[in-house]
């Protein structure tokens, strides 16, 4: 048996996405910047993809900059904007992805002050905390704020509207990392109040190696990659035509199938958590009171070692994770859970299940049955060890 339940880490290509990419992996190999026919065909295809990606998040195609992925998009947003400003403050939520936290930390070396907004146990952002931070910064100091739309570990969806209103009142630039949210819930860049938004193809059944930064044209942003002038001199490098085309197709499908995917996943998600709560009543599901993505369950079973549980689940053919794949491989407890006030012991035992559009009820059943079995085994060993 092989059951994949780690869709937040990455997704398989949708067959239709692969079909759209094939011509550009084979006979249509032209460089999109070349003036001849094969170049023009490549260029036309990337133009279409740009429209498709823009449509997914209600942005304008001219606002789309294709990058090599979500990490690059977040780096470009923060470092690119910072480069055009006199160093001021960067404010992050306590639950941002490493591709936001890490560049923000690097900017400290260049004179930026880093502040964090607290989150509570239900994952809600302490908006009054943000207001206080803003009020403490003088009006002429640059402010960049980064708040993700949906968290990759807990699935919690953040209410950006009041954050954006506050950012506007205080003259702060707002970056919204929508990497996990896009394709799972409706995303509207134009009405979000954000000036910057990051996206990734491989989270929505598109290829790895391509993402996008959506930027409002009023934003002054320095390119991070210099060279051949691609992406209107905002991001140099020969366009990865096949990947961009795949991203466009994936975005188109995500938009047209948004409601169906949402409904299907939601049903399975409810089923999963209902079985968890009734059959493993000791389970602690993180953020269950909060608005969450329809596919993510992040939970812990107190007293049990998460790593061991994961390994035994893998041996049984079930692929889940302990949180962000983007870790360095060490067993640090999730910073997201710690920020939410979860104890390190609880956090270390956490398991993330994230469903996909192809996930099935029988897969959930296999997972729960196996989990119960492994829990039973581990508890017996624990009992023996302490006897």
């Amino acid at each position: 048996m092989s059951v994949y339940l780690d869709y937040n880490a990455t997704t398989p290509l949708d067959r239709r996405v692969l079909d759209s990419m094939m011509p550009f992996l084979c006979e249509q190999f032209g460089n999109a910047s070349s003036g001849h026919q094969s170049g023009r065909i490549a260029r036309a295809a990337t133009d279409v993809a740009r429209e498709q990606v823009a449509a997914l998040v209600n942005a304008h195609p001219s606002q789309v900059i294709f990058t090599s992925g979500g990490t690059e998009a977040n780096n470009l947003a923060l470092k690119g904007c910072a480069a055009r400003l006199t160093p001021g403050h960067i404010i992050l939520s306590g639950v941002e992805h490493s591709s936001v936290r890490s560049p923000a930390n690097v900017l400290k070396k260049y004179g930026w002050r880093l502040d964090e907004i607290g989150v509570d146990a239900d994952g809600r952002l302490a908006i009054e905390n943000l207001r206080a931070i803003f009020s403490g910064i003088s009006a002429d100091r640059a402010k960049i704020l980064a708040v993700m739309l949906a968290n990759n570990e807990t699935g919690i969806v953040y209410d950006i509207a009041p954050i954006a209103a506050l950012a506007r009142d205080f003259g702060a630039l707002l970056l919204v990392d929508a990497v996990q949210a896009a394709g799972k819930i409706p995303v509207d860049f134009t009405h979000s109040g954000a000036q910057l938004m990051s996206l990734s193809a491989h989270k929505i059944y598109g290829p790895k190696g391509v993402g996008a930064l959506i930027v409002d044209k009023a934003v002054d942003m320095e390119p991070m990659l210099q060279g051949g002038g691609q992406e209107k001199a905002r991001r140099a490098g020969t366009e990865n035509v096949a990947a961009i085309v795949g991203f466009g197709k994936a975005a188109e499908l995500a938009l047209s199938e948004l409601s169906t995917r949402h409904a299907q996943t939601q049903t399975l998600h409810h089923y999963l958590e209902a079985r968890l709560r009734s059959e493993l009543p000791q389970v602690c599901i993180f953020g269950q009171q909060a608005a969450r993505l329809p596919n993510t369950s992040f939970f812990a079973l107190p007293g049990l070692d998460g790593e061991t549980l994961l390994m035994s689940l893998d041996r049984a053919g079930l692929a889940v994770s302990s949180g962000s794949a983007c870790g360095t491989g060490d067993v640090e407890p999730s910073h997201v859970l710690l920020a939410m006030g979860v104890s390190p012991e609880h956090a270390r035992g956490a398991i993330r299940v994230s469903l996909g559009k192809e996930s099935r009820r029988d897969e959930i059943d296999s997972f729960i049955d196996c989990l119960k079995q492994q829990v039973h085994v581990l508890q017996r060993f624990a009992a023996v060890a302490y006897a």
């Binding site: 880490a9 398989p12 070349s34 780096n75």
Partner: protein, 412 residues
């Protein structure tokens, strides 16, 4: 068969190459919905481990082509990123605020824009850059390079094979100069890997940029070689989950990496065969046009890869020439700058006047180019040149023996 039914003959391999079918086949295993799609950084399940194994296998293949240690290969999104990472990475690490080393960089005027624009960016940040002039052959004179080196020089960046001319620089000799002075040496090998032997265990090169799509691999994929002995330090440019030993964060695109590995494996196996093939075809092309008068080869043919062949046809207007060659996919200047109508900065740096620079064509061929392609190209080029020269008043004047450089042109 009219030309409009046929796809143009592709002779723009330096702009990009078709993927070798063997590369495409290898990549498919990681692209199909039921293939290996795991995130290589997923440590908790077999989907991730399988992907990670494939990534490490590909790393060995890339390292093998250039005789490097796999640990010295960092995955990037392409040679542009590798160039940016190498140059900014070294500049910020060795020339940063607290460094006493210095802020002087040496490069050449004929580097790819990815190197030149990065250097310009560093100039805006307070670094000093010396842009060396090439000789008329396209080669960098080593004595002039040595003379430019100072106590505060921290980096030299010279490309191995020039993308417009095909000229091969003597990077082994340059490496001796830089190592002796403790200067970091970066080489853009985007156009040379798989075409020219590269042995990083003997060449004193510290950083080397690679591109997959120039060698029958996928676009959006490259690598940067970062020497471990002696250890070269870099400031990372893309931060996040700590991938690639902290030097380049971001989810690894397994299928692209596998494709690059396979492309480099094939390049190692087929390099001798590929280059013999290209040399024969280049010679055939040259023989087919050299009897046309006023034809100038740009760059020293004897010191160039046969894959890139840049010729100027005097007394022919450049844009008209390109338009007349619509059955040939070629380029004038590099693809990366063809949007502008500026004459090639590389040709200008060689000392070519604007007219010759404008009337240049870069023919670049590769593994799949055939003799028939070359013969068709010759036919097209000859026809185009003859037709355009027949229409050219400058050509008439030249044929009448008028020295155009002496003509006083009346203003309109």
């Amino acid at each position: 068969m009219t030309s409009s039914n046929r796809r143009p003959i592709y002779m723009d391999y330096a702009a990009t190459t078709p993927m070798d079918p063997r590369v495409a086949k290898k990549m498919m295993q990681f692209l199909t919905p039921d293939g290996e799609f795991g995130n290589p950084a997923s440590r908790s399940h077999a989907y991730g481990w399988t992907a990670e194994t494939a990534v490490e296998e590909a790393r060995k293949q890339v390292a093998a082509l250039v005789n490097a240690n796999p640990k010295e290969i960092i995955w990037t999104s392409g040679a542009t990123e590798s160039d940016n990472l190498a140059i900014k990475g070294v500049a910020h690490f060795y020339g940063g605020k607290n460094s006493k080393k210095g802020k002087h960089i040496i490069t050449s005027k004929i580097e790819h824009k990815a190197v030149l624009d990065t250097c310009r960016q560093l100039e805006r940040e307070g670094y000093e850059v010396t842009y060396l002039d090439p000789e008329p052959t396209g080669l960098i004179d080593l004595d002039k390079l040595e003379a430019a080196m100072r106590d505060d020089t921290i980096l030299v960046s010279i490309m191995h094979v020039n993308n417009e001319l095909g000229v091969i620089q003597n990077i082994a000799a340059i490496g001796e100069l830089t190592r002796a002075r403790g200067i970091v040496f970066h080489v853009d090998a985007a156009q040379s890997a798989g075409k020219v032997d590269i042995d990083l265990s003997s060449m004193k090169v510290d950083l080397m940029s690679f591109s997959a799509h120039k060698i029958y691999g996928p676009k959006g994929m490259g690598a940067l070689y970062v020497r471990r002995k002696p250890r070269i330090r870099l400031e990372a440019q893309t931060h996040g989950g700590g991938h690639e030993r902290g030097m380049r964060s971001g989810t690894l695109a397994t299928h692209q990496i596998v494709g690059m590995g396979e492309a480099f494996r094939i390049a190692k196996e087929d390099m001798a065969k590929d280059q013999t093939h290209a040399a024969a075809l280049r010679d055939r092309l040259y023989d087919g046009v050299k009897d046309l008068e006023e034809v100038y080869v740009n760059g020293d043919m004897a010191q160039s890869v046969p894959n890139i062949f840049n010729i100027s046809f005097n007394y022919v207007e450049g844009e008209s020439l390109i338009m007349s060659l619509k059955d040939l996919a070629v380029s004038s200047g590099s693809a990366c700058t063809s949007a502008s109508l500026e004459p090639s900065y590389v040709l200008r740096a060689l000392g070519r006047n604007d007219e010759l620079a404008h009337s240049s064509i870069r023919f670049s061929i590769g593994r799949f180019t055939t003799e028939e392609d070359i013969d068709n190209a010759i036919t097209h080029v000859r026809a185009a040149i003859e037709k355009l020269r027949a229409l050219s008043p400058l050509w008439d004047m030249y044929k009448e023996g008028i020295d155009l450089s002496q003509v006083k042109w009346a203003a309109h």
